[in-house]
Structure formats: C-alpha cells, structure tokens
Symmetry: C2
Subunit: 302 residues, 2 copies
Amino acid sequence: MIDVCLLGTGGMMPLPYRYLTSLFLRYNGSSLMIDCGEGTQMALRKAGYSPNPIDVICFTHYHGDHISGLPGLLLSMGNADRKEKLTLIGPKGLAYVVNQLRIIAPELPFEIEYREYTENAADFEINGYLIHAFRVNHRVPCFGYTVSVKRLGLFDPEKARENGVPLKFWNRLQHGETIEEEGRTYTPELVMGPERKGLKITYATDTRPTPSITENARGSDLLILEGMYGDWDKFDRVKDHKHMMMQEAAEIAREVQPSELWFTHYSPAMVHPENYEKELKKIFPNLVIPRDGQVTELNFED
Amino acid sequence: MIDVCLLGTGGMMPLPYRYLTSLFLRYNGSSLMIDCGEGTQMALRKAGYSPNPIDVICFTHYHGDHISGLPGLLLSMGNADRKEKLTLIGPKGLAYVVNQLRIIAPELPFEIEYREYTENAADFEINGYLIHAFRVNHRVPCFGYTVSVKRLGLFDPEKARENGVPLKFWNRLQHGETIEEEGRTYTPELVMGPERKGLKITYATDTRPTPSITENARGSDLLILEGMYGDWDKFDRVKDHKHMMMQEAAEIAREVQPSELWFTHYSPAMVHPENYEKELKKIFPNLVIPRDGQVTELNFED
C-alpha cells in the first residue's frame, strides 16, 4: 500500500490558497518527496504529516519553484532532531545547487547523500522504492519520475517440494532469506510463485509532451502531469515556455491508460482548474483535478 | 502617514496558520520590508499587497527563518516585470548570502543594490525612510531597526518676509527646491517653520533585551519586539538561545513608553500567545498581541 498526497498543485509562485507542486509518498514507514518549493513544509504540516520520516527527495529540475523550500525543510528536519541519512536525487548540478542554498542551513544533525545523474535516464532503489528518472523537455534539463514498489509472489509449497527444499527452511525463505546448508544454496525463488503486479506512480511537470513520458508512464496506477492552463488562448505561451496544457496531459493519459490521472503545476493565473473538468473527461474520463492535499491510497490487487 | 502590516508573526519555521515574522511598511508610494522568511510572499499576497512596489528590504540577520523567502520573492518581482532598482540592507555578509541563494534566481530584470554595514550602527535614507540599524544580542550578529519619516515644518510667510525671500520663490521653496538668483541662495529653511514630530517604528527580534533596544526605541509610535514565549518554564531555553520572553519585551516597553507595543517571532510551540495578554498588560497596557496580517496606520499629529 502506498499513501499518496499531492501537497501542492501550484507552479511559479506559492499563493495563500495554493502551495507549490510537491508529491509526497509513504510506503513501509519511509516517505519520499518529489520537488520542494517555497512553503512545501507548510503544506506538509497542513496535510498532517511530519517532515522527519522523509528519507528521499527527488528533484525534477532546479527552477526556484521546485527547490526553494529545501533549506527550510532541512532546518525543520534538523530541529526535529533527525539523525538518519537523507538522500537527495536529481539531475546534474544537484550538490552544487543544494550546497549554495545551504548557506542558510549549514549545520544539520544528519548526513545528506547526493545521488546526481548525468544521463537521460537513471535508476535508484531506496527503502523499497524503485525510482526511475527520465528526461523530459523544458527550458532547462528536467526529468520526470516513476516510483514503483514490487510485490512478491505468493508462497508456493508445491514448488518448494518440487525443488526439494527442506520444510525447516520454508518460513525463512518466504521472508526473503537465502540459506546455505551442506554445500547447497536455497533462495526465496525456490519457494515463491511468480512476482505479482506492484504499484506505479508517474510524475512529470514543466515539460512539453514527450515520447519519454508516454513510454515511462505505461502501467501507472496514478499518472500526475502538469496542467499549466486549460484555456487554449494560453497555448502559445505554454508552448514557448515549454509547459503543458491540461488537454495535452489528458491526451497522454488517453494513450497510456493509467488507472487515474491527476494534474498539477497550475498557473497562478488559473484560479479554477476545475472549470475544465467536463472537457477534459471527454479526452480521458478517469481524472481528478486536484486541489492541494489531494490524497489517495494505492493498494495491491486482491 | 505610514501603513504598517506585520505580515507574519512566527519564528523558526512557517506554519500553515502562521507565517514567519516580516514587517511591511508603505509610505509615499514606496514599500519597505524587514525580514523575508519562507512564505513571506504568500503572507504579502494574503494581506492584499503586491511585491512590486517594495524598494527596500532590511535583514536583521541571516538565519534561515529571516531570509529563506528572498529568492522566491525576487523571482515573483521579476515575473511581475519590475524594472526599478531594489535595495537590500543588512549586516556584513549580505551580498555573499544573497548571491548564494540566487543560484535559483540568477536572472532578474532589475538591479539589486547591496548596502552592507560592518559597524554596530548604521544609517540609510531611501525614499523618505530614515533607517537606523543597531546591534542587538543574538547567537550571530543581529540588528534591530528603527524606521522614521520626517515631517517638515509649516510654511511661515512671516519668516519668509523677514528673510527677504522674493514672493515669486515662496511656492517652489516650500516644495523643497533650492534656488539661486543674483548671487544669493534661497533654501527651504528660509520659509519653513521648525520641523514637526515625525513617525517612528522600532523592530527588534532574535535578541536578549539590550540597552541598544531601549535607547533606540525611545520616541517610537510603534515598538515591535520578539515575544518567543510567554511561559516562564521556557525561560532558560529562551535565554540560552538568545531570544526574548514576551514579559521581557513588555518591560522594555514600560521603560521606553512607545505609543503601542506589538510582539512577533512566536515559537511554533506557543499556539496561543493571546493567553498572556492580561499578565502582559499589567507590565505595559498599550500592547497588541498580533496575529499575521496585523495592520495599523500611523498618522502625523494634528
């Protein structure tokens, strides 16, 4: 089960009634965040979460509205006496940018690990989260993310017997141990059925529609895409600044067929994104036009 | 007339219901701000102001909660197409700190002038604001500010006649011009009565009580002081971290006798500062326990 909360839905600047876009996930006691603009720590508190269990923060790019809240969040994590390492993931420049910003958060009681990537795609595995970064198309290098969790197969006693696994090892093997005895190695695969469908979330903002989004978003339980504007009068501007219309996001969803589509990164000039709901549902019906703090619970299939 | 708005009243971290401490003044079409923590641009909008007419921002010190909102505010001013120079005032390190933070706001359509001071006191005059910085006592170099505006004397035709000022110059002189004619220099002082009482605001936070606060705050129409806690159980902590109790602030006001005392920089742990109102009014009655967005209008005496 993954808890999902879209802490904020805004682009460019935080507003009194709309925090900047930031995605917050909880899985197995560990929290992951994507993007952290000014005010994200307020949005986190408002949604009822503590900053302390955040173990990973991924950045799509380093425009201010996606990272300006980091120093404040780090200070708050420090004040809450966090001791565990925090992992930051982002494209080239991560450590440089964060170290500059840390002029106001120089001393922290926890270690920061920088996992900076330079290719057009990169993979990370942390606390059960499988994180995949993929290049999108913005005015500066910018990346989308898929975050997946695997689901093991069921224990299969038939298979265990066929593979000649001694009964005394069954329990330990199905809990993931590998056991050696008398020169033979017993692995969990010998007792487990095939891996089952896991969960997958895709998040991409500050980009034109790209084939990379379509490819990477396939099989998503939740697809979260930028919807800067819904008004076609703004299209030239959106295109020039390398952003995405709500309708373009819905078109991607029509092709990818996620279980659900959410929008984010609304322009401050778009006060009522919900006005476009009817039109957008004609393109892809399973969509939500989130407000800050939109939550869902993604569950493994029965 | 000066419009005063205490945009936020919080210390340490911004909360969903309490922005970080920041003072906003408007006088004669020009706005001045003191401190700019994470979320201050949201507080500004919530209070109904635009960031664009801000000409001066003063910083008390460079702890995150007093400057973390600057890059976002600069970006928003840039997006609003500000062209006029912005003046930043602060103790030693100003340009260094701001330039580091500007890694996420590198390109702005306006000039930034840094007015950095290294002494224990410093004076600036900008757009009619007389700004005086004075050293206080915190864990790092920290300064309080007085902001005053002068009030000219009344035009005095008697005096103009006595000084032999030709009638044709009276109007220009009373509007501040200096005029030379036939080897003689006519200054406004020749036609104006004595300067009248102006307006004065004093703001000091993140400090223990100091003689410098008492001295500089004298004659204030509004005195705004830190009130980190009202509960004496927190006194040791407040003292160790070089902050100020609400009661200590009220004691300063009792000595200084400002027209009004406001508190700011409440600890996130103090949810209801208004609980101490009765006790504090016994020390100094003319006080307000502000919430975010507290406003007043300071007017020249009749």
